[in-house]
Amino acid sequence: MDRFAEILSGPHLDLLIVGTRVTLYMAVLSYLLAFVMGNVLAAARVSPIPVLQRAAMAYVSVFRNTPLIVLAFLFWYGGGRAGWPFGRLTTAIIVLGLYTGAYIAESLRSGINAVPPGQAEAARAIGLPFTGVVGTIVLPQAIRTVIPPLGNLWIANLKNSSVFLVIGIDELTRAGRRIGHALADYTSAFIVVALIYLALVYGSAQLIKLIERRLEIAR
């Protein structure tokens, strides 16, 4: 118990607080990027333009079939040499967002398939252009049908942020490693870190349920 008290006070606590803050910051910003990417990719998949369809398909298959850690190394070290202009944290957020975006696109695609075709037809019939049909009528309904998988992707995205300790981001997992090293007690340090992740995930799950209920279409 003394050990845990030690971890939860002084400089160790500061490390944990900063780490949690960075993890949440990364998770939120990368998810926002992922959500935008996912919508754009899903729209491209159902667009009448073959080039866009194929580009979206290629994107999704590249980002879903490459380990996240490889993408992290590729963008940070590989990108660094090729003139990649962004800093560490921004790079991490972009890479994570692009990665999760591929999964969100796939979720949304199944959501789009669940929207009756008559919805898009009625939208076309009143003269909405393709972007309006998809953006105003199809995607908003598709999103509602896939809130649970989108929630799971938020949780996966939050946990995946830990990968970026490999490019030196001071997020929660890296904070745990530092504390474990300082105290020569990785077990206690990572139990605390795991409990913090658990709390974040549990809190997210409650929030997702709330959002799902709010977005439900009244019948």
Partner: protein, 246 residues
């Protein structure tokens, strides 16, 4: 000024090997109501849907108010706004309120202000008898009510012509007349309409012409009285005897 509003000239369409529209020639005059009738699968819906190019055609030309239907893109979207369409399955936007269903097109397509669109929408909802339900979601309304909203949604675009594809076929019998009454009123006001329907009462009291389709062709065109009392072709006679003894 007296040129027809819709002109279909030599229109052909295939679904794969199925020749679903064969040499369709049809003109619809301003303020005219044309009823399209025919057996299931004869191509009535497809014909209707080619008029606003929800289905592209393979051969022939279609003019709306003298303008040929443009290919997919901004011009087509603009032209579609001038052609109102009412579907068998209503297709109200499920995540929008009744009022939003009616204002969406005027705001997003016509660029009207929200206030302007809403006051016009309320007028139209009043006219179809749904004004009290303006804040509800589509799924909270009966089929007949939803279809009347769908009519209001189409009218909100101030279309030059209204297309109806079996607007009462999905309705319980007791709701059919509330929708037909609205359509009769539109016809009386001189709205140009193409109506796919088997409602003979509507055809007799509203239509100037009945177009009978069979197997992708227009087989007979006549006034409602002539068509129903004295069909010229065997196929029309056969079809009418079936729906009358039904």
């Amino acid at each position: 000024m007296s040129e027809p509003l819709v002109v279909m000239d030599g229109v052909n369409k295939w679904f794969g090997d199925l020749h679903v529209l064969q040499d369709i020639d049809l003109t619809v005059d301003r303020r005219e109501v044309v009823v399209v009738i025919g057996p299931s699968g004869s191509g009535k819906s497809t014909l209707c849907r080619t008029i606003n190019r929800l289905e592209p055609i393979d051969k022939g030309t279609i003019l709306i108010d003298g303008e040929p239907l443009p290919a997919e893109g901004k011009d087509l979207a603009r032209l579609r706004a001038d052609v109102g369409m009412v579907f068998q399955s209503f297709n109200l936007f499920a995540h929008k309120t009744i009022l939003q269903n009616v204002t969406l097109g005027p705001i997003k397509v016509r660029g009207k202000s929200k206030d302007e669109a809403e006051s016009r929408a309320m007028e139209l909802l009043e006219r179809v008898g749904i004004a009290e339900q303006a804040g509800k979601m589509p799924a909270q309304l009966s089929g007949g009510q939803q279809q009347r909203v769908a009519i209001a949604r189409a009218l909100a675009m101030d279309p030059k012509v209204m297309l109806f594809d079996e607007p009462t076929s999905a309705l319980d019998p007791e709701m059919i007349s509330e929708v037909l009454d609205v359509m009769l009123e539109l016809a009386r006001e001189g709205t140009t309409m193409v109506v796919v329907t088997h409602e003979m009462g509507f055809a007799r009291s509203a239509a100037q012409r009945v177009v009978f389709m069979d197997a992708g062709r227009i087989v007979e065109v006549n006034t409602p009285d002539e068509f129903f009392n004295n069909p010229q072709t065997d196929r029309a006679q056969d079809f009418l005897s079936k729906i009358l003894n039904h």
